[in-house]
């Protein structure tokens, strides 16, 4: 493999994209907090899935654009995603084993 290929920097997003992502992250956070304060939603089963979905969206935006996983090599995506999935599985397994779904 030539050095030209090795040293070619990955195309990082522009400052405009970074600012747009920051605006979206702020907007999602505002929505999350607003949802928390809506009495009709707060005590229902809807709250957790909606908040988790919004949180996952923020997580994905930061990882893809600020951590550059989107333009970078898929190798990094694999290195990050495998333990992330394992961690999620550990969370679900421990919660099940320790009876966290029952009060």
């Amino acid at each position: 493999m030539s050095q030209e290929v090795l040293e070619k920097p990955s195309a990082h997003p522009s400052a405009r994209v970074y600012l747009s992502i920051a605006a979206i992250l702020t907007a999602i956070t505002v929505v999350e907090v607003a949802i928390f304060y809506i009495p009709a939603i707060r005590g229902t089963m809807v709250l957790a899935p909606v908040l988790l979905l919004l949180s996952a969206g923020k997580f994905a935006l930061v990882v893809m654009f600020y951590m550059h996983l989107k333009p970078d090599s898929k190798l990094f995506t694999a290195i990050f995603t495998a333990p992330l999935v394992l961690a999620a599985a550990v969370i679900l397994a421990l919660m099940t084993l320790l009876g966290a779904w029952v009060y």
């Binding site: 040293e7 400052a15 956070t29 709250l47 930061v62 969370i91």
Partner: protein
């Protein structure tokens, strides 16, 4: 082309430092995964108060969350400035990131002292134990990040952080953004989704 740059590449075509750091971040996923699992497994199981519903300050934490999100923006702008060789804005954005990280730590210190004043210590109940360990561990990571950023800022001030050192800033950025995404999860599962009955 510097010899250092050549020496850091392998048959994968990627910088070995970056591969190593992504692997480290993977291991950090497991660390925070177990801490979050422990918090969630014991959530709502405290036999004495204070409970999350009684003590968590959502407006305060929302502001600190916003501060950390904005620090991530400053971090990517710092990396962009270093990559284009803009020393002035490299310093500005690195300093901004470090200051916002320090502000987040001040918010956390305020929150912790407020909780202690209201009777929640690490030994008070299951909520106190799991909450302080989880958020304290995250806070320590933020502290390490602030120190790391301060060292980069000093390097930049001494004119030793040119485009050829962009990988150093990129790796620091990966750490900083990871700390940010961990907080995104903690803010949702600990602060906003408060499961279980109040004690």
């Amino acid at each position: 082309m510097s010899t250092a740059a050549i020496g850091h590449y392998t048959s994968t075509g990627q910088d070995t430092r970056k591969i190593a750091f992504w692997t480290f971040i993977g291991s950090e996923c497991m660390l925070f995964g177990t801490l979050i699992a422990t918090y969630l497994s014991y959530e709502g199981k405290s036999v004495v108060g204070p409970t999350p519903q009684e003590i968590l300050n959502i407006p305060l934490t929302s502001v600190s969350t916003f501060v950390l999100l904005m620090s991530s923006l400053a971090m990517v702008l710092a990396l962009a400035a270093v990559m284009r060789g803009d020393t002035r804005y490299s310093k500005v954005w690195l300093a901004t990131t470090a200051v916002l990280g320090a502000v987040f730590l001040v918010f956390q210190a305020f929150e912790f002292t407020q909780f202690v004043d209201e009777g929640l210590k690490i030994s008070t109940n299951l909520f106190g134990s799991t909450f302080f360990v989880l958020t304290g561990c995250h806070g320590l990571h933020v502290l390490v990040g602030v120190i790391w950023l301060a060292t980069l800022l000093i390097m930049s001030a001494r004119g030793k952080l040119g485009p050829e050192k962009a990988m150093n800033v990129e790796i620091a950025g990966l750490y900083w953004h990871f700390v940010d995404v961990v907080w995104i999860v903690i803010f949702t599962v600990v602060y906003l989704i408060q499961r279980g009955p109040a004690a």
